[in-house]
Symmetry: C2
Subunit: 225 residues, 2 copies
């Protein structure tokens, strides 16, 4: 494994048997990243892990969180609280990339935000100050990410810690997507709300997985590290 | 004036002496729309109106609201409450397109939403049920809209009334922009929050007025009327 591919360390995909988690894991594995797959059920995680690669391990979410250097949480909003409470003891000092979108079925085309203002801010509250939460991947259609095709969607990354945001940007890039730093964790509400908008657009204009692109010529402002 | 150009009736630009209002007014005038320009100060409105076109009238905001068939509100967040209270008696039965973004200086790169959840929902509350509020134009850089160049940004339109949303889509099209229906008025929070994200992106990546585009092949679902 090259130095570049391993720059993020071991990446734990919490909820890695779901549509989004499995799609991200598959792309990261193809990019040569070192992965562990977590699920509520360790057996399901092992099955999913074997499908992704011979050297990918599957285990219970909390064990995956303990094994990972970088944690990616890909669970439905309804499971966010239980999942984060489960892994909280194992993520102190780590960067946690939360992908949760606060969709409340059946009205998923309508923005319905949690009292904390966003799922990302809620994640930080649930995990405590020991973890460094960033958020991203709210707007990427999982069924498109699950293919080898190019996905016409940017990944907005939110967080109060710049090096942590840069890790999430790199993660997006390993998935073949453009990651864009988008400001404070509180700004995550923009991308989280946009998901309901995209679902509405899909239905209204018969689109198969609408996404979005930030326009304008950008100068990469990545720091030297 | 062609039938098509006049389909929206007389368009009143409330706050039409500001950067966004003047830019929208200028583009609508070029498209042949019938306009009145409103401002807190009637004299300023008359000056601005003469700059836009010989047959464009300028007047106080409340008079412009009374004269307009379709009302476009382009004032800063800090002026939203006073402006809407001023025009409220004159917009019953009319469609009001609110463009307000809840930016709270000096921290404009940080999303700071009003207690109502969005400026659009706040606008509806301020105007009362007699007016039909839709929102849009939150993400277009005014200095780009002020030119004759193509602007690489979509206009997301929010509202609970579909015919009203379609009017806002047509207004965007008259401005040379793609208008996209984006769901309920409550969804406006997505575009309003995105403005702070775009300001952050402008600064972080040295972009001159970042915008966004919805991706994916769309089928126009406009109704026959």
């Amino acid at each position: 494994m090259s130095e570049t591919e391993n720059e993020l360390g071991t990446i734990a995909i919490i909820g890695g048997t779901g549509h989004l988690g499995a799609a991200i894991a598959r792309r990261l594995a193809k990019a040569g990243c070192e992965l562990v797959i977590g699920s509520r059920n360790a057996d399901s995680a092992e099955v999913a892990a074997r499908e992704i690669g011979a050297d990918v391990r599957g285990m219970a979410n909390r064990d995956a969180a303990a094994a990972g250097d970088l944690i990616v949480v890909t669970v439905p909003f309804a499971a966010q609280e239980a999942t984060l409470s489960d892994i909280a003891p194992h993520v102190a000092g780590k960067v946690v990339i939360d992908t949760t979108v606060p969709l409340v079925p059946p009205r998923v085309m309508r923005v319905q935000l949690p009292p904390e203002g966003s799922a990302a801010v809620r994640a930080q509250a649930l995990l405590g100050a020991g973890a460094t939460v960033v958020s991203g991947f709210h707007n990427v259609a999982a069924h498109k990410l699950a293919t080898d095709e190019a996905v016409d969607c940017d990944v907005l990354v939110f967080g109060d810690d710049r090096p942590a945001r840069r890790k999430a940007v790199r993660l997006a890039e390993h998935c073949g997507l453009r990651g864009i730093e988008a400001g404070a964790l509180a700004n995550s509400v923009a991308a989280e709300a946009l998901t309901s908008v995209l679902i509405f657009v899909n239905k209204t204009y018969q689109v198969d997985g609408a996404g979005f692109r930030i326009t304008g010529k950008m100068v990469d402002s990545a720091p030297a590290n």
